[in-house]
């Protein structure tokens, strides 16, 4: 299954890219983060993040479907 991933801020810097299209067997955002954590060595744990699927906040256990756009959201600091 192909997913689209966008990276922002600290995660963008640690992944070394702002987006990518990934072939993966990850069934949920939780699975996907575990896979990417291994690949990029992110310093943030899943507990420090939120996740968005198709530009809406999502659960970590929501099933992913082909073509979904996923964003892992580090702690925010607007204002």
């Amino acid at each position: 299954m192909q997913l689209r991933i966008h990276y922002y801020a600290l995660m963008r810097e640690q992944a070394g890219r702002s987006e990518e299209t990934l072939d993966t067997s990850a069934a949920t955002p939780a699975d996907l983060y575990a896979e990417l954590l291994t690949r990029y060595g992110f310093t943030l744990t899943r507990e420090q993040l939120k996740v968005a699927v198709n530009s809406e906040f999502s659960d970590w256990s929501q099933p992913l479907t082909a073509g979904d756009a996923v964003v892992f959201i580090p702690p925010v600091a607007g204002g």
Partner: protein, 165 residues
């Protein structure tokens, strides 16, 4: 749109005009300015980055919530993205209402929620040459639940998530 981003300086005069209302007797605005220090480090400039698609939705939800919670007339929030120098305005919130109490409450609600819920990130560049992504202290604690309704208040300086040399 009652929440929006701008890559250029925020035009507060134009924004304020959007809130004019003959029935309004009070107007409260908040501006966030780039401060010259944070956590004991001398700050030289900031960079703001946003996940704009989601940020605009969440920002609109916050302003709509403020309009439901408080009997105010109009409310608007504008946030900068990109590189900001010292004293630059990073965010502006304006609220007009018949009576002033509600305008203060709604304005404060909006800026508090924006800082905690809207996917915007801030990188500080220090005089030392280091830089760091800033975040809300409690949000950075492992196990802190990112419940959109949580209402914690910041005391003291925001923590730095990761210092880069």
């Amino acid at each position: 749109m009652r929440f929006r981003f701008t890559p250029a300086a925020i035009d507060t005069c134009a924004a304020r005009r959007e809130l004019l209302d003959l029935g309004a007797g009070g107007y409260v605005s908040f501006e966030g300015w780039v401060r010259d220090h944070n956590e004991g480090q001398e700050v030289m400039r900031l960079e703001y980055e946003a996940f704009q698609e989601l940020a605009v939705k969440e920002g609109e939800r916050i302003v709509a919530e403020a309009l439901r919670r408080y009997p105010v007339k109009q409310a608007l929030c504008i946030h900068r993205v990109g590189s900001l120098d010292l004293s630059a305005m990073a965010v502006w919130v304006g609220v007009s209402s018949a009576h002033r109490g509600e305008a203060f409450d709604a304005c404060r609600f909006i800026i508090d929620e924006v800082k905690h819920r809207v996917p915007i990130w801030k990188k500080e560049h220090y005089r030392s040459g280091d830089s760091g992504w800033v975040n809300c202290e409690r949000c950075a604690e492992p196990g802190h639940r990112h419940d959109p309704s949580h209402d914690h208040v910041h005391h003291g300086e925001p923590a730095v998530l990761a210092i880069q040399k």
